[in-house]
């Protein structure tokens, strides 16, 4: 989808065109679903949360100013919802045993599926705030400044949490090796 097509679809969706909104959903569903999946490591919950993010978007379409703002808004909402959902789950069930979380089916094009699965498990073991930053940094390839803006936290906090998160993952990897 070109930028012009995105802008046209967004304008039409704001006017109430359902098919234009569906087009926006199809354009961004992979990003939103992947953030939720990498955060929650539960495909069904990730889909539910991604759907709710788009429902929320539908109710707030008039606030979206441009296709870039739409991407920013979706990343922000889905990440905050993931953090909230993750905290709710922890409160409901106590600490989640990592081995109890089902691993999503192996993906195509992975060079080392075992290593990837292990890494995803380790990412899921990070505290919510660090996990959100790691997912946005390495799934969405966002720089710390963009992450700070998306999560509405200071840049130095992003950097320190990212550093701590990577340190944790590195130590885990070394132990696993």
């Amino acid at each position: 989808m070109t930028e012009w097509e995105s802008a046209t679809a967004l304008a039409a969706a704001v006017r109430g065109d359902a098919s234009a909104f569906a087009q926006l959903v199809r354009e961004h569903q992979t990003m939103v679903f992947s953030v939720a999946l990498h955060f929650l490591r539960d495909s069904a919950r990730a889909e539910d949360l991604a759907q709710e993010t788009f429902l929320h978007l539908h109710r707030n379409l008039e606030k979206i100013e441009s296709p870039e703002h739409l991407v920013f808004w979706l990343r922000k909402v889905v990440t905050h919802r993931c953090i909230d959902e993750s905290r709710r789950r922890l409160r409901r069930r106590g600490d989640v045993a990592l081995d109890a979380i089902p691993e999503p089916s192996t993906r195509r094009h992975e060079r080392d599926p075992f290593l990837s699965a292990a890494l995803r498990k380790m990412v899921a073991a990070l505290p919510e705030a660090q996990r959100a930053i790691v997912v946005l940094r390495y799934q969405e390839d966002m720089d710390p400044g963009e992450i700070a803006e998306t999560l509405d936290i200071p840049l130095n906090t992003v950097k320190s949490r990212l550093h701590r998160g990577l340190e944790f993952l590195r130590r885990k990897m070394e132990r696993m090796a």
């Binding site: 992979t30 679903f33 788009f54 429902l55 539908h58 290593l115 990412v123 993952l169």
Partner: protein, 120 residues
């Protein structure tokens, strides 16, 4: 650290949303819109006055005011009655006293007249 970062990029690559995802979102939006419209209709229908909290409060306040008014009226009437009875009792006592004083005066006059007649 860069090897770890490469591995993270590899592991956290975007994954396709399940088939039919957009359709399910649109279905939920349609259902949500219908529910919203039903809710809007429910909100638009004016609520009967007697179901309003203010109306109930006003009724309660009116009842309380009525009870207080009747109570005050009753207390005043009883006080008035007591005062009237006290006045009647006092009047009767005064009448009795006046009668007795009158008879005492009559006796004194009689005794005086009798002594005067004896002296003469």
């Amino acid at each position: 650290m860069s090897l770890l970062e490469d591995q993270l990029r590899e592991s956290l690559r975007r994954q396709e949303a399940p088939d039919g995802f957009a359709g399910r979102v649109m279905e939920r939006i349609r259902r949500g819109d219908a529910a919203d419209q039903a809710q809007a209709r429910a909100v638009a229908r004016p609520m009967p006055a007697w179901r309003g909290a203010w109306f109930r409060f006003a009724v309660l306040a009116a009842c309380a005011l009525l009870v207080v008014t009747v109570g005050v009226f009753q207390v005043r009437r009883e006080r008035e009655e007591h005062r009237r009875m006290d006045a009647e009792r006092a009047f009767e006592a005064l009448q009795l006293t006046a009668g007795k004083l009158h008879s005492v005066r009559a006796r004194i006059v009689n005794v005086g007249l009798a002594r005067k007649a004896e002296d003469e």
